[in-house]
Every structure is written in structure tokens, then in C-alpha cells.
């Protein structure tokens, strides 16, 4: 049932609205009639309890980290510590207006400044700005800085950003938003960038390359130094998509690999909640040469107090990506997380995320599954391909994904990266225990048996969720995006 279907005209929740004497609405008769709305919007008129009950019941229809194992590759679904939520939501912090003069907001600014410093340490970059509101906006900021760099040198023939074929969709989409063409570079059979193809593609038109390392294929790009050299020699810059930073915390730093700019997904590596789709935070870090272009605002410290750096102090900045300093509440959560882990804890994240992934890969191999890159180490994630099963048993990666839901596991990422057929990108994260990994592995093995025994049942799954498989084609063809009373 939809919340609107609980609605009854004239129902009010007086506790939640400002009360005028005699219960009247405040006087607005000074406003000209012509600018007023003729009828109030038809929002649900429900009681507070109906609201609470409806949304509490709805919430129970979700899978989530707090209720299920969620081995969603590339997404780093790890435990979101409750302390991060509680202490980022202290009334004193929530009450702060974004335009409060820095002098009266030192407590919050201290946190931001320290977070910037920690991110510099982790990435090996020279300066960090926290303002991008998610990974994709971080990418935008990064490529915009690459563009600003070339522009400042009047190097205006550069028109292309190189992107490996395994890249996340945001990479090419970002290149285009920044006015570049995205040119794909193929992957070799071991999961590394095809260097010959790269050399062939590079030229004076190359503005830069966007890379994830470890890549979205779940392997570490071993030839990164060579790639950096090729690009830099051609006058291009290197962009690091930090979605997979979890794998290398304290092990290797993008700055040392030769990257000029990086974004970090704090909602992945720094465990801020995904919230059913956001908000995230995508701070960017830059090497020396991109420092002037860093997006504003960010926080500076002169040894005595903290201040906000804006366009005024940084005339060459690519500018502002949002009205203020991005998703500050998310930044506070990431800050708290970083303080709880400390330096050693950060390194252990990489250790155990990698251990878990390699363990699962080994065990799943033993259970008869094929890996996309069986000769490679898994990083914090790895890819399994169900090509054989699709061919022999007629079940797809999608079918097995849906069947996993019946077992109480969220499905891994499916069909991404596109170059691996029928693939599962599996990322267990460091916060899951061996027990949970084993349970998932057993479920996979059991489903494989089911595919042999009763493929139709698997193809008809899920069987135990609030809905069965949904008609996506109908959803797109007979668009129903807004509820109407009559329907």
C-alpha cells in the first residue's frame, strides 16, 4: 500500500506544525493573490503513527548491511559504525549554518582540516579538497582540473580522455561532461591495460587517462609505472578513480604511482553509509601541478585558526561544485571513522579486505566456479564468470544472483565490467567474518547443485522476497513514475 492510500482529507498533525492562536494559519494576506497557489498540493494526510508504521514496514523490505552480507563488487559494502552516525549528528554540529563565519565554526572546521591531512597521507597527494559530493563529482572535478591545467598552458589541442574498457560508466560520462571525447583502451588477457593499444592511442590529443588501480577487474595494474610514463611523456595527466582504495590503504599510494589527481569515495573506503543510494562524498587530491585548480571551498590552517579558502584566495580554481563544502555530514562520519581506525587500522583494512577476497576466490574455485583471471591474485575483489553454467545449464548470472537473495545474501555485482561475460564481481570487505564467507560459499555451491537439479526453479527465483522478478520492460514502456488517485 502506498502512503497516499492511507490519506484522508482534512486529517492534520498539529504537533508538527507551528501553531497560531486559535489554530489558524499565519496571516499571509499581504501577499498578492496572483502569486499564490490555488490549491494545496495533494500530499498524504496521515497521522504520525501511520507515517511511522508505513516507513518502518517499508524499511523491513530492504536488504542492508545491517541485516545481510552484501558482497557487491566495486561498492565496498562494509559495516557502517554506528558511532559515526551518532557523533556526526550531535545537535551542536547539525545546528551550524553553512554561512556561519569561520571564527564561529572552529570545531567543525578542525575536523575537516584534519580529514584533509589524513587523506593526503593516505594518497600521497599534495593537497585535498573535500567538496565533491560523490565519486562522479570527484571525477568531474579531477578532469576539470586536467582541463584547467592544459588551458592554463594554452595547450588546447587536447581533446581526448583515455579510459580502459573495464572502467566504471562514470569515467567516460565524466570525460564528456568536461568536454572531452572518451576513448576506450582494451584490456589484455591477464586483466592489465593493453600497453600496445595504449601506445597506439596516445598522442598530442591526449588530455589524460582515467584509471582505477586495482582495476574493476579485481586485479592490480602491474604496469602502472609504464603507463604513467607513456601518458606523461605525451603531455597527458593521470586520473585515479579511487573507488577501489580499500584494497591498497597504506600499501601503495596513488601519488607514488604517478597519478596527478585522485578522487576518493568516502562512502566506500571510509565506510560512510550508502543510504539506499547516497549521499556520498568524493574528495579530490592533487599533485603539485594541479594545486592551483583545486575546487573550493576547502579548509586552511595558519597554526592558530581554521579558515575557509574560496575563489578569492584561489583565483585559478575550477570553482565550486555545490553551494557549500559538499556533503559535510558525510565528511564528519568519515572523519570519525578514520579516527576510530587510526594509521594501523587503515592498513589492516587493506590486509583483511584482500585476505577475504583471496579466500573466497580460492574456495569458490574449489567448488567448481571459474574465475575470470585465475592466475592473478585477487585484490579486495575478484571476478567469477558463469559463462560455462550459462551455456551448459541455461542459467544466467542474473538467475543465480536472484537465487542468492532467497538464501539471505545480497547478490554480487553482475554484468560489470561488461567485458567479462556472465560475471559476478565479488567484494566481501574486511568486516565480514570467515563464518559469513563460508556460508556464502556454501550457498553458491548449493545453488550450483540446484541448477543441475532444477534450473527452472533457479530461473524463477527469487521465491521468498516481497516481490518476485519484476517486469522491467513494462516499467520502461508504460512509464508510471508518479501515483495518481485514479490508478
Amino acid at each position: 500500500m502506498l502512503i497516499f492510500q492511507h490519506s484522508v482529507d482534512q486529517r492534520r498533525n498539529p504537533s508538527q506544525s507551528p501553531s497560531e492562536s486559535a489554530g489558524e494559519i499565519a496571516d499571509i494576506s499581504d501577499l498578492p493573490l496572483s502569486c499564490l497557489r490555488d490549491a494545496p498540493p495533494k500530499l498524504p494526510a496521515v497521522s504520525e503513527m501511520q507515517t511511522v508504521r508505513h516507513y518502518t514496514q517499508l524499511s523491513q523490505k530492504n536488504f542492508s548491511i545491517d541485516t545481510q552480507f552484501y558482497p557487491l563488487g566495486s561498492c565496498t559494502m562494509k559495516y557502517n559504525p554506528r558511532a559515526c552516525n551518532k557523533y556526526a549528528m550531535l545537535p551542536g554540529l547539525l545546528r551550524k549554518h553553512p554561512l556561519t563565519p569561520a571564527k564561529h565554526n572552529q570545531g567543525t572546521l578542525t575536523c575537516f582540516y584534519e580529514l584533509q591531512e589524513m587523506l593526503k597521507d593516505i594518497t600521497g597527494m599534495k593537497e585535498v579538497s573535500l567538496s565533491p559530493m560523490a565519486g562522479a563529482q570527484g571525477e568531474f572535478a579531477g578532469v576539470a582540473m586536467i582541463r584547467a591545467y592544459h588551458d592554463a598552458r594554452n595547450d588546447d589541442v587536447r581533446s581526448e580522455i583515455l579510459v580502459p574498457d573495464a572502467a566504471h560508466g562514470t569515467n567516460p560520462a565524466t570525460a564528456v561532461m568536461c568536454g572531452y571525447k572518451a576513448r576506450e583502451i582494451p584490456t589484455d588477457k591477464n586483466g592489465d591495460v593493453d600497453l600496445d593499444a595504449l601506445r597506439a592511442a596516445v598522442g598530442p590529443q591526449t588530455a589524460g587517462i582515467m584509471l582505477t588501480n586495482p582495476s574493476t577487474l579485481g586485479v592490480f595494474e602491474r604496469k602502472i609505472a609504464e603507463i604513467a610514463q607513456i601518458i606523461h611523456e605525451a603531455g597527458g595527466l593521470l586520473y585515479y578513480d579511487g573507488a577501489n582504495l580499500n584494497a591498497i590503504l597504506g600499501k601503495v599510494r596513488p601519488g607514488d604511482m604517478g597519478f596527478d589527481v585522485i578522487h576518493m569515495n568516502l562512502h566506500k573506503t571510509f565506510s560512510t553509509p550508502h543510504g539506499g543510494g547516497g549521499p556520498g562524498a568524493g574528495p579530490v587530491g592533487v599533485s603539485e601541478r594541479l594545486v592551483p585548480y583545486l575546487p573550493v571551498p576547502f579548509v586552511a590552517y595558519d597554526g592558530k585558526s581554521y579558515s575557509v579558502v574560496t575563489e578569492k584566495e584561489r583565483p585559478d580554481t575550477i570553482g565550486r561544485l555545490s553551494a557549500h563544502m559538499g556533503n559535510t555530514g558525510v565528511l564528519l562520519r568519515a572523519y570519525i571513522y578514520a579516527r576510530l581506525l587510526g594509521a594501523d587500522g587503515m592498513i589492516r583494512v587493506a590486509d583483511y579486505a584482500t585476505l577475504n577476497a583471496n579466500y573466497m576466490m580460492t574456495r569458490l574455485k574449489e567448488k567448481g566456479f571459474d574465475m575470470a583471471y585465475p592466475e592473478r591474485r585477487a585484490t579486495h575483489e575478484f571476478i567469477l564468470t558463469l559463462k560455462k553454467q550459462a551455456k551448459e545449464l541455461g542459467v544466467t548470472a542474473m538467475d543465480i544472483a536472484k537465487r542468492l537473495l532467497d538464501y539471505g545474501f545480497h547478490a554480487p555485482t553482475t554484468y560489470f565490467p561488461l567485458l567479462v561475460p556472465e560475471c559476478f564481481l565479488i567484494e566481501p570487505t574486511e568486516t565480514e567474518s570467515q563464518y559469513e564467507l563460508d556460508a556464502f560459499i556454501e550457498a553458491m555451491a548449493e545453488i550450483l547443485q540446484e541448477c543441475h537439479r532444477d534450473a527452472e526453479m533457479v530461473k524463477a527465483s527469487p521465491h521468498t522476497l516481497p516481490v518476485r522478478r519484476l517486469d522491467d520492460v513494462r516499467a520502461a514502456r508504460q512509464l508510471d513514475l508518479v501515483w495518481k488517485q485514479s490508478t
Binding site: L2, Q16, S17, P18, I25, D27, I28, L31, L36, K42, L43, P44, Y55, F63, T67, Q68, Y87, G92, L93, T100, A134, Q137, G169, P172, A173, A175, V176, C178, V252, H274, G275, G276, G277, P295, G319, L321, S322, M325, G329, V330, R339, G342, D344, G345, Y352, T354, N358, Y359, T362, R376, R377, V467, L470, D471, R474, A476, L479, D480, V482, W483
Partner: protein, 458 residues
């Protein structure tokens, strides 16, 4: 180990299963010359107890100032239920609802949100959120340009009366795409946008803020019709609380706005130093395939039962890659969860009362403040929610002195409008009492006339 469950025994067993001796060995594909082995500037771990104390100190470190700033972020009452439900693990720690069957809670909620927003804006459809008001306006500009493919140039009329930080954001985001942003000035008496037929040629869209950054209510009907007559699209950038009382964008002029966007913060998001908030966007049905961001559709499952899923994904980067309508991926889902619950708790009646109360409070403050010699109202038109005051002294000084009375007295316009160097924009929401408003005028009185600070102004 914080948040890592492994015991030594388990780690050993797992390493044995893999067939390596140490965790270190799992990193052997990383070229050794690149390896580091420590983080040198990260501090050591704190316990949760230590962090709790640290954060409590930081939160209380700054004075408790009464806030009379709006300028895009508004202090509204948020029912306790909003965040108690929003932070339930099942909403808080879920991923984007790609696996629809395991995400019906989030998906249905988003569908309800889309319905509410479309209803408030009187538009056909809504997406499931963008980052914030500023970046939503940038996306609206890009969308308008995409939808006006017949135009030979990419020109947008962007009034100076639009929030300056939104204008900056738009500029940063659209600048690489050869889009020309043309500024429209405001009338110095009324504070309203001045339109100019000379600028109307081959323009893709006109941006109309309602109310505008000065709190002034624009003549949206005239602006909309003028734009449509000149083959521009109309992009409304509106305050959702104001829309409870003011004419909805879908009803502006003869045909309504084409795209509507804005800052969702007033619907359940705390001020929180500027984020996370969320950007909303609605449009006419015919532009839906140009819309950026996620959209949820209602459909049925194999048994014919109602269900919800992400739809029109072919617009998005994970399917369309370089041809996507935007690069946006992660959006502001949890803020929308809060907004949906917030709207459901207040209802149209409650939201209208909030809007009316803000209006009344602002009118009251303005009429009190303008009694003070040296303080006058800047514009003569009706306003909503906030208003510009002229001072006979530099705004920055006055504001700093007001903080000594425990008051954040408004936003200094001189930073963005050099011609308004002695002006501030003030905002009085429903959270302020009569006593608060009097405290403001009293403080303003003593600041403007150099009276001693009263013993306890708060």
C-alpha cells in the same frame, strides 16, 4: 582490530586455504618499488569513548548563536520521527536499489517521493534526487541545452538574483561545454529580474528563481510567458517550502515551467554546515528522457503483484557510459528518505503553516528592524522567507557585532553584489519566537547605535 572480526587462528586458517604464508604475500603483484609500509601522518586509533568526547567538545566549542541567515539553507523544525526512521539500518546501510526484489522499501519510498515532488511543483515527473540545489541547477541547464538541439548556440539567461553560489556552481559545471551564461540584472527598487528583448535571441532557457535570492517574489507568469514566446525553456529554481503557498511552477504563465529544480534541504535536512542536502528536479513528461539521475517506476512482478524498480536506466552512465544524460551515480538517497518522511508527517497543511509562519515572522522582523534609524528595507515588492535590509554602516561590521549578542544576523551581500555593500539578507523561519525577533531588533538597535550589550540577549 576495529571492525575486523578475524582472530589469529582464523587468519591462519584462511591463509592456509589460499596457500600463502602471510597476508603480505597477497600484495606481491604490487611492484615493490611502489610499496609503502606505513601511514606517517595518520594519528593512532582512538576508542569510541575517546571519539565521543572529542566530537562532543568540537560540537560545543562554538557559541550557540541564534541563526537569522537563510541564503539557501533554512533552519526548520524537523520531527523527531524523521531521523529516527531514516537512520534505521535497513535504509541507512542499504545500497542503491539495483536488486529491486531486495530493495522494495527504498524503491517504494522513492516512488512516493517522486509523486510528492511532482505534486508540489505541479509537474509531470520527478527524479529521485541530485546532489544539491546548485548542482541541480547546473544539470537543469545541461538538460535544457540537450532538449533545445535545434538552437545554433547554447545560451542561458541566468539572472543575478539567482543564489550566487548556485551561479558559481553552474559556471564550474557547464563551462567546458561551450554554454554561454548571460546575466540578467535586477531592478534596484523592486529587487526583481529585468528582462530584455535584446537578449532573447537564440536562447535555450531562462532561469527563474522563486523567491529570488533577495527573498523577493518574482512575477513568474510574465517571465514564463515571455520566455516561451521567445522559444526558451523555463527552468524554475524554487524553494519547496515557498511552493506550499506560492503558485506552483507547473502553473506559471500559460504553459508552466519546463524544468524545475532546487534545494531540498528545507524538507527535513538539518543545516549541518551545508550538507548533505539534496537537489530535486521535476520536468514535463516530454523531457523525461533528458532528465539526469535515477528514476523509479511502478511495475508488476511475474505474478502481477505491484512492485517498483529503477527505470529509464538507458539515460544513465552505468548503461549509456559516455552518452549518458549525466555522470551522476551515487545521489542523495538518504536525504530523500528523510524528506519523504518529513513531508508525510507535516502534510500539505503542516507545510503551508510552516511557510506562512516564516512569512509572518520575516514581515515582523523587517517591520521592527526598519524602525531603527539607519536600517531600511532594500526592496519594495512582496517577499517570502527572507528579505534584504540596507544599513548605514558596512554589513560585515554590523554582523560581527551582532554575534556578540549571540545572533547570526544575516548574510553580507557585499561579497556577491558590490552595489549592495551595506546590505544583508535576513531570514526568519518558524523556529523563531516573538521574543527571538525582539531580541534581534534590540541587538540591532544597540549595534547600530553603539549601545552597551544587554546582560543576556539570548
Amino acid at each position: 582490530m576495529p571492525f575486523i572480526p578475524h582472530t589469529e587462528t582464523e587468519t591462519k586458517a584462511m591463509l592456509d586455504a589460499i596457500g600463502v604464508d602471510s597476508i603480505e604475500q597477497l600484495f606481491d603483484e604490487i611492484p615493490s618499488e611502489l610499496r609503502v609500509d606505513k601511514l606517517s601522518k595518520m594519528p593512532a586509533a582512538l576508542s569510541e569513548m575517546e571519539v565521543a568526547r572529542l566530537m562532543s567538545e568540537r560540537a560545543e566549542q562554538d557559541a550557540h548563536l541564534q541563526c537569522f541567515i537563510g541564503a539557501g539553507s533554512y533552519e526548520h523544525h524537523i520531527p523527531a520521527a524523521v531521523w529516527e526512521i531514516t537512520t534505521r539500518g535497513e535504509f541507512y546501510s542499504a545500497y542503491t536499489p539495483y536488486q529491486a526484489e531486495a530493495s522494495q522499501g527504498t524503491l517504494q519510498l522513492l516512488y512516493e517521493y517522486q509523486t510528492m515532488m511532482a505534486e508540489i511543483m505541479a509537474m509531470d515527473v520527478s527524479n529521485a534526487s541530485l546532489y544539491d540545489g546548485g548542482s541541480a541547477l547546473a544539470e537543469a541547464v545541461l538538460m535544457a541545452v540537450r532538449s533545445q538541439r535545434k538552437k545554433t548556440t547554447k545560451r542561458i539567461l541566468m539572472p543575478r538574483a539567482v543564489n550566487p553560489n548556485y551561479r558559481r556552481t553552474v559556471r564550474s559545471i557547464v563551462s567546458s561545454q561551450n554554454i554561454e551564461l548571460i546575466e540578467l540584472d535586477y531592478d534596484k527598487k523592486s529587487g526583481r529580474i529585468i528582462i530584455d528583448d535584446d537578449m532573447a535571441n537564440d536562447v535555450s532557457a531562462l532561469i527563474i528563481p522563486q523567491p529570488n535570492f533577495f527573498g523577493v517574489i518574482e512575477d513568474v507568469d510574465t517571465l514564463t510567458d515571455w520566455a516561451h514566446e521567445n522559444n526558451m525553456l523555463v527552468i524554475g529554481v524554487v524553494n519547496p517550502i515557498a511552493m506550499q503557498l506560492l503558485k506552483a511552477p507547473g502553473q506559471w504563465g500559460s504553459n508552466g515551467a519546463d524544468i524545475v529544480c532546487g534545494e531540498g534541504q528545507p524538507l527535513g535536512a538539518p543545516l549541518s554546515s551545508g550538507g548533505p542536502y539534496f537537489g530535486f528536479m521535476c520536468c514535463n513528461q516530454k523531457f523525461v528522457r533528458q532528465m539526469p539521475g535515477r528514476i523509479i517506476g511502478r511495475t508488476v512482478d511475474v505474478e502481477g503483484k505491484q512492485g517498483f524498480s529503477l527505470t529509464l536506466q538507458a539515460r544513465e552512465q552505468h548503461i549509456r557510459r559516455s552518452k549518458a544524460t549525466s555522470n551522476i551515480c551515487t545521489n542523495q538517497g538518504l536525504m530523500v528518505t528523510a524528506a519523504t518522511i518529513h513531508m508525510s508527517l507535516l502534510g500539505a497543511d503542516g507545510l503551508a503553516r510552516v511557510a506562512a509562519s516564516c512569512h509572518k515572522n520575516t514581515v515582523t522582523l523587517v517591520s521592527q528592524a526598519t524602525q531603527i534609524s539607519g536600517v531600511s528595507a532594500a526592496f519594495n515588492g512582496p517577499c517570502f522567507h527572507e528579505s534584504v535590509l540596507y544599513l548605514n554602516r558596512p554589513a560585515a561590521e554590523v554582523l560581527e557585532e551582532l554575534t556578540e549578542h549571540g545572533i547570526l544576523g544575516g548574510y553580507d551581500l557585499s561579497q556577491d553584489y558590490p552595489e549592495l555593500s551595506n546590505a544583508i539578507v535576513v531570514c526568519v523561519t518558524e523556529t523563531k519566537t516573538e521574543a527571538d525577533i525582539i531580541a534581534y531588533s534590540t541587538a540591532m538597535q544597540s549595534v547600530m547605535h553603539d549601545l552597551p550589550i544587554a546582560s543576556n540577549d539570548q
